[in-house]
Structure formats: C-alpha cells, structure tokens
Symmetry: C2
Subunit: 311 residues, 2 copies
C-alpha cells in the first residue's frame, strides 16, 4: 500500500566532532521518505526553492519517491538549517534557521497523495497537519510527529491534531512535556487516551518503546560505538516504521513490533554517515542483516524457573 | 550450586517522595543475598553490630540464607546509611554515613563459603575483594561490583581485582569513568580486554546490557509508572543474575541472557516498596509471571523483508 509524507525538504549545514558539511540534503520529509522507500511506494509532499538541484532530485528519483507534490518556488530558496553537535550527540545546537519557502508552506495533495492508505505528518505546524489529515479521509493508518516548540506555544492545537490520527511518534522529552507526567509510561497512557492506537516514544541511544492498548514493546538502539551524525534519525525511524507497516496487509501487534525494529534498523544506519549518505546507499541484505542483529541482541528463551527445594 | 556473597549488611534511613523509613534492613550483601536466595543456596559473609535484631535475622532465616559467616561485633553498631531521593530517582542524596563495624570489616570465610562454586564481591574496598576472591580459588564463576569512589581514588586496585574475576556488574557512569570512553559499547569492550567473560552494565530505568566476547544482549527495565524506592536495585539485579546462573549446569550464552532477565525481574520488584519489603514477600509464580512479561515486551518474529518490485 502507498504512503504519503508531508514535511520539510531542506538543506542542512552540519558540524559534528567527526566533520563538517556546508550544505547537504536534509529535512524531515526527505529522511522519512528515503527510509520508507525501501518498504513501500512513497509520495512526498513539500516545497523547495529554485536552488534545489539535480543532485537533490536524483536522491528522490533513485528511490522511486513520487515528487509530483513537491512544489517548486522558482524564485525562492529552500529551507536551510545549520546545526552543531558536540560529543553529546543527543543535543543539536541550532546555529541558523532560514525558513525561506517553507515559511508559507501550503501543502497541496494530488489525488494520488490523497488516496494513500498510510499518511505521515512530519513535524510542521499542528493546524497544517490537521488540514492535511482531513484531505486523506480514507487513510487506514495516520501517524504524526511534533516538537517542543509547538507543545509549549500551542498545546491545544497539538492535541486537536493528535485526536484525528492513529499514532504519534515523539521523543521522551516531548511526551513528558505534553502530559506533564515524569514517567514515560504514565505519559504514554495519557496520550493513548486521546483515542490513539499506538504511541511510539523515541529514546535516542536507549531505543524506542511502543505503547498500545494491549501493552508495550521495547526495542533497544543498535549499539554503535560512535554516532557520526544524528540529524534525521527520528524521521528515518518513522520512515522505516510507517514504510514497513504500509507494506503489510494489516496493522496488528506483530506488524507494529516488527515495524519498531525496522524503524530502529533504518535509524541505526542513518547516523553512521552525514545526512542521507548512508541510507541512500543501503541495500536489502544490509537491512535484513541488521534486523537479524536486533533479534540476536534481544532474544532469550522463555524457560520458567523453579528452585530445587533445599534440605 | 551454592553462591557466596561478601558485602555490607546495614540499616538504612530512607526518604523518597512516597514516604520515609527511619531505620530498615539494607546493605548490598542483604539485597543481593535475598534476591539470589530464590534461585540457589546462599552463604552471606559480612559483619553486624549488637544492634542487629531478631527481625533482621529473621529475614535471612526465612530465605534459608546461611549466616554462619556474618560476624557479630556485640559491642559495635551496624553500618548505617541515610539517604534521600527526589523525583529523579536515579540520584541518591547521602545525608549520613556511619561505617561503624563495617569500617574494620575483615571477611572471614568458612570452608562452606570457600567451597561455593559461585562468588559475588559486592561493593567493598577492591583490595578486600581481591583477598576474598583468592580464598575461593576453585570458584566456577566470580562477579564483582565496585563504585565511583574506588575508581577515582584507587583505579589500579580496582583493575587488579577485575583481572581475577569473570564478570563485572556496574552502572554506565562507572563504566565510562573506569575506561574514559564516552560510549558504553567502547567502554565494555575495553573492560572485556582485562580477561573477563562478561561485562554487565546497568542503566537504571533503561535496563541493562550484557557484553561477552561473542556479542551483546540488551534487556529493558520493567515499565513501572513509579519507582517507590530504588535503594538496592543494583544489588537485587546482581542477586537474581548470579543466583540464576548458580542454579544452572553451565554458564553459557543462553543462561547469561536469562540471568540478565531474572536480574531485571528481581530488581523491578525491589523498587516497588521500601528496602527489602517487596522481595522478602515474593513468590515463584510472581517471579515467573514477570519473566513472561519481559518476554512479551521484547519478543518479535524474525521475518526478513523484501519489497515487491514496483513498476
């Protein structure tokens, strides 16, 4: 089944302890779409400027992502974000943000994008997310992201959007901020009460947790000795998660669990190089090998214990 | 097979956001021994003062822990620690430490304790740990704990002790401090190079990771909405881990994985009430039910993915 993603397409300027890139392809929609494209057909909805070049379009084309709904504002400039990571890779220090054409982004969905069975609302203004969601009334499964900025400045709007989706994929700090619950378990329960089928909480180097009304599932992060560039890891996770689900016949507990693992697999590759470099170059044997590595590092046999009675 | 533990036996004064206890049974040796006693025969080696009362001895007796090697200094006082936890339960604020009889603790092992096949060296002076380890030359599997204080004040002595054991069970901050490696994966590799069979890194609310020369295994923490009192969680983990191993015929990868889970099971109970209260009252059906819950929250089917070729 096909999957539509609405989100930013950007240029990123990045600096990490391992190197520097002046201006490379980035953005939530990009990272998500690229990751999801390994699993299903993807329609990307976004906006770029006239500076978006052949090399950038080639990344989308190479992965058969439908770019019909990426609007080009010929006399505008593409969204630009510049950030720096120190050794604590969990925190990005923003050095510059130029919204450019993204400032007036008005997502326009073609019939093709509207007919997708799966929809992902990457991190954009919550009211826009809701408008897009309403344009895809027959979607089978809709997930959203959000961010601390919207939660602090317009929490009600964020909640109104949560109420019309099936799943939210956010990090632990955002879950705590949204619910004012210190425990992520309590936070996830509260968020489920808005009527969601699933709450996914990303915990960076500690992995991710899935909460449903039936229970929870925990997947650790892949044990990398060094994270090269964490930019886009969360969106790459979401892309693997939603892409895998879209490729299944049914969104059930088993599929959601494997989707969590495929999301983690894709995110673990994303952070190995700058920007989209690593995921762009991925192949299926690598993906399935790492999936097996996740199985190997979490599997144990379920053998109950009974102590021999001592004298 | 039997298991000997050498460590503190104490009174704790505790304050958490959920309540207060003036003076309850505690200490690393106590928490470890109590937890391990559900799996195997335990010999406790320690020292207490004349103030150690019938109620305290009863806890050991109730769990068939051999107390022959707990020395009683009739005119001395038992080690006392007083601490407070705020809402961040990961950090204990020490309010008072009275070493009392523990200050001159000189572990004396009976033949019975020396003949144990499994040995745990709880957090005491590293030179003492090494002396004890040398008194149990035929032990099949020896594990140790340590703490930031010893690592900063006598790292060489800690390392000399690491070199004569099979396994170290420490938290992530200690692993980083010991190796000066920011990544716990790099840190664990470095520690394994001292000749260990296993390195277990405890990560509090994020679970625990096992590193061996064959690979790694990750177990999440049990998702508790609130941690009532974290005192002794690490030692309770170690008790479940070592106790389970001691009850097996062989220390192999499968047994180590299940030991990690039983350790996590026991620790998850420990934090539900003050001090030893919860583990003291545990039964096997509860333990095995929680073990199954760990299986349920980490299991997924290993089904490789191949995308249908799109047109």
């Amino acid at each position: 089944m096909s999957l539509t993603v609405v989100g930013s397409i950007a240029f990123d300027g990045l600096e990490t302890p391992f190197g520097k890139r002046e201006r490379i392809l980035g953005g939530a929609g990009t990272h998500f779409g690229l990751s999801a494209s390994f699993f299903t057909d993807v329609n990307a909805v976004g906006v770029v400027g006239g500076d978006f070049g052949d090399d950038e379009w080639a990344v989308f084309k190479r992965h058969h992502i439908n770019t019909d709904d990426i609007e080009v504002v010929a006399d505008g400039k593409t969204f630009f974000w510049q950030g720096r990571y120190d050794y604590d890779m969990n925190t990005a220090h923003t050095l510059d943000t130029q919204l450019n054409v993204f400032e007036t982004f008005d997502p326009k969905l073609s019939e093709n994008s509207k007919n997708a069975e799966f929809l992902f609302l990457a991190n954009i203004l919550p009211m826009l997310q809701k408008q897009v969601r309403e344009q895809v009334p027959n979607a089978k499964f809709v997930a959203m992201d959000t961010m601390n900025f919207w939660i602090s400045s317009m929490k009600d709007a964020v909640i109104e959007t949560i109420k019309v989706v099936d799943c939210i994929i956010i990090n632990d700090a955002e879950a705590r901020q949204l619910t004012e619950e210190p425990s992520i378990y309590a936070a996830a329960k509260r968020i489920l009460e808005y009527g969601l089928k699933a709450v996914v909480i990303k915990r960076g180097e500690y992995g991710a947790t899935l909460f449903t009304n039936d229970g929870y599932f925990v997947v650790p992060a892949y044990p990398l000795e060094s994270v090269f560039d964490p930019t886009g890891a969360g969106d790459t996770f979401a892309g693997g998660f939603m892409g895998y689900l879209a490729a299944q016949n049914e969104v059930n507990d088993d599929a959601l669990r494997r989707a969590m693992v495929y999301g983690s697999v894709m995110a673990s590759f994303n952070v190995e190089k700058f920007g989209t470099e690593r995921v762009d170059a991925l192949d299926y044997p690598e993906i399935n090998e790492r999936f097996k590595a996740f199985k190997a590092m979490t599997h144990f046999d379920d053998i109950p214990f009974e102590k021999a009675i001592s004298a």
